[in-house]
Amino acid sequence: MSTLELVGLTKHFSGAKQSAETVAVNDINLSVGDGEFLCILGPSGCGKSTTLRMIGGFEEPTSGDVLIDGASVVDMPPNRRPTAMVFQKYTLWPHMRVYDNIAFGLRLRHQDKAQIDKEVRDSLALVGLTGYDRRYPAQLSGGEQQRVALARALVLQPKMLLLDEPFSNLDALLRVRLREELYAIQRRIKITAIFVTHDQEEALSLADRIAVMNAGQLEQLDKPSQIYAYPRTLFVADFIGVMNIFPVQRQGDLLHIGQYALKAPEGLNGESGLSVAVRPEDFTFSATDGAWQGVIDQTIDLGHYRKVLVIVPGLFGDETAALAHRVKVYMPKSVQARAGDRIALTPSRYLVYSDTAVTRTSSATRTSSATPNAQPIEVRNQAVSGEDDR
C-alpha cells in the first residue's frame, strides 16, 4: 500500500539510425494515491508500456523521477523495487510447475517451507486456481496462465501492482470476467495498481482515475466520469467514447458550422482553429422543429438504445461531405426512426475546443504554448431542458 509519483518522466529511444530518436514518453507528471487503481489509456505506441516499465525498473528514464512512498527508486534495478508486474505476454517459466512459479520469489526471500506452502496456496485460492499447483504452464489455458502470473505477483505482497495489458490476449468474455476478478481482488487487498490498456471500456470499468496518453504525453488525468463528460483536449474527446466533432468558424458571438451556427460560449478566446464536440446522446430531435435539418441514413440497434446516423447537408455544404461525416445520434428505442425519415437535430450540450494542434494525428512535438483556452468550454443549451447532469 503505497503512493506513486512520476515527476517529469521522459524516455527517449535512440533509433536504428543515430539521428532518429523516438520520444516514447514526454514529461509525464502524475501522482497516484494509496490503494488507488489508475489506468493508463491510450492508442498503440503512445508510450504506455514504456511508462509502466520505467516504474517497474525495466527501462531507465532519460530524465525525470519515479517516487514510491516519496522515495526515488530510479536507481534501483527491478529486483529491488517494491513493485510487481504482470506482463501482456505469458511469462510463466515453462520449465517450472505452477507451484514453483509462484514460490520462486518467496524462496529468494528465504522463507521457511511451511510458510511458502501456505502463501502459495493462499494466492492460488485468491485467483481461483486451487489445485492447479502441480501443473506446468503448458497445461494451462491463457486465462489460467495470466491468473497464475497475477498470483505470482501478489504473493510477494508488493507495494504496487503493475499490469501491462494483462488480458489483451484473451477472448472478450474471459477478458471481462478476469477484469472483474482483478477489480474484486484489488479492492479486497487494497493494493495500489497501475493498469495499462488501450481498451477504454476496460479502463472505464476498472479505474479510480484514468490517465489518457497520446504520443508520449499525458493528455488528461481524471475520474472516468469526468473524462467522459469533460474531455480536456480534442484528442481525448475523440478517443474516449463516441463524439461528433465539427470544425467551426467564429464570427463574434456565433460559431458557424456550414449554414448553421451555435452560440459561442462566454470567455472563448481565439478566432480560428476552433472545434465543437457533441456526444451522440446530447441531441434533442424531432421530425421538423430543430436547428439542423437532416435525413436518417442508417439506424443501428444496439440493444437498449438505437444509434442513428443522420446526413445533415447544411453542415458541410455538399452531400458527399455530409455522407462522409454522418452525425451520430443515440435515441431511445421508443422513438420511431427509420432510414429515409426526415429529422431535425439540436445540440443540447456541446464542448468548444481551441487547441488545434491536438488531433488524432498529432506528433510528439506539440506546440503547447499559446493555447488561448486551456480548457474546453462547455455550453448547455438553455432552450432545451435536458436530462443532463452526468
Binding site: K89, W93, H95, A149
Partner: protein
C-alpha cells in the same frame, strides 16, 4: 457405378489404390523422407555392417558368402588402432570442451547484445562451412607450418575448433534468442539477481539446444578427418585418419568396415543417451537462426 459393380475385385483394388495415393498425398513428404532415409543412410550402414561380419564375400552374391568375425580379432589387435582410439576420444572431448568455453558465452552475447558488426560476425562463421574446406585447411596448414604446429596435437585441436564454430555459435545463439526476454524480466521482477535469472530461468530453457550442439560437435569432431589429416600427419593419427589410410593402402574391405563400426560406437552411445534429455526437436529447432 453399374459397370464397376460387375467385377467385385475392381472397387477393392481401386479403393486400395485410392487409399494409397491419399496416404502418399497426405503424408507425401514423410513417405519420401523415409524412403530417402533408407537409401541414403540405412543402406550404406547396412553394407558396412555386412562387410564387418563377412569372412568371405564374392561378387555375384547379395549377402556375404561366408559369415564370421575372423577379421575382428585381426583389426582390434592392430597397434595403430589401439593408439588412435583413445587419441580420438581425447581430442574430441578436448575440442568440444574448448569450443563450448569459447562459443557459449559468445553466443549469449550474440543473442542478447546489439553491437556493431554483430550480423557480419555471425555470418562469418558460416564462411568456414560455405566454401570447400580443403582450401581453407591448406592455407591454415601453411600458417601452422611456420608456427611449428604441423604434426602436433595442439595444431589438430586448433583446426578442429575452427570446424565446430558454426554449430556451437549458431545453435546456442538461436536458443538464447528463443528465450523471451520477458521471461527473464519476470524473474528479475520477483527479486532474482541477474546471475540467478541466468542460472534458473535462461539456462534450463536453452539446455536441450545446448546439449544438442555439444553432442553434434563431439560427434562431428570425432569423425573429422580432413583437418586432422592435413595438420596431424605424420605424428597424430586419429581414428578417421587411420581409416583413410587403411582403406587407401589395403584392399581388405573388412578393416575399413570394422573401423567405421567402431567409429559409430561413441556417437551411438551418445545419441541414445541424448534422446533421454534432449527434447525431440531441439536439434532441428536449433538451426532456426
Amino acid at each position: 457405378m453399374a459397370v464397376v459393380s460387375h467385377s467385385p475385385s475392381m472397387p477393392v483394388k481401386s479403393s486400395v489404390f485410392k487409399a494409397l495415393t491419399k496416404t502418399v498425398r497426405r503424408e507425401g513428404l514423410s513417405v519420401v523422407l523415409i524412403v530417402a532415409l533408407f537409401t541414403i543412410i540405412i543402406g550404406p550402414m547396412l553394407t558396412v555392417v555386412l562387410w564387418a561380419f563377412a569372412d568371405v564375400w564374392r561378387y555375384p552374391s547379395l549377402v556375404p558368402t561366408q559369415w564370421g568375425t575372423s577379421f575382428w580379432a585381426e583389426t582390434l589387435a592392430r597397434a595403430d588402432l589401439a593408439m588412435a582410439f583413445p587419441l580420438s576420444v581425447g581430442l574430441a572431448v578436448t575440442v568440444t570442451l574448448l569450443s563450448a568455453v569459447i562459443c557459449l558465452p559468445a553466443s549469449y552475447a550474440f543473442a542478447r547484445m546489439n553491437f556493431p558488426g554483430r550480423q557480419g560476425l555471425l555470418l562469418s562463421f558460416l564462411a568456414t562451412n560455405a566454401f570447400p574446406r580443403f582450401g581453407l585447411y591448406v592455407s591454415i596448414a601453411v600458417v601452422f607450418y611456420r608456427l611449428n604446429l604441423i604434426g602436433t596435437i595442439p595444431g589438430v585441436i586448433l583446426i578442429q575448433i575452427v570446424n565446430t564454430l558454426l554449430l556451437m555459435i549458431w545453435i546456442p545463439t538461436s536458443a538464447f534468442q528463443g528465450v523471451d526476454r520477458s521471461l527473464e524480466e519476470a524473474a528479475l521482477d520477483v527479486g532474482a539477481s541477474r546471475v540467478r535469472v541466468f542460472l534458473q530461468v535462461t539456462l534450463p530453457l536453452v539446455l536441450p539446444s545446448l546439449s544438442a550442439a555439444v553432442l553434434l560437435t563431439f560427434v562431428s569432431t570425432f569423425y573429422e578427418a580432413q583437418g586432422a589429416l592435413i595438420v596431424g600427419l605424420p605424428n597424430v593419427t586419429t581414428m578417421a585418419v587411420l581409416m583413410y589410410s587403411i582403406i587407401n593402402s589395403q584392399i581388405i574391405v573388412q578393416y575399413g568396415a570394422i573401423i567405421s563400426f567402431i567409429l559409430w560406437l561413441p556417437s551411438l552411445i551418445l545419441l541414445t543417451f541424448a534422446q533421454r534429455f534432449v527434447r525431440g526437436n531441439a536439434i532441428s529447432a536449433g538451426f532456426g537462426v
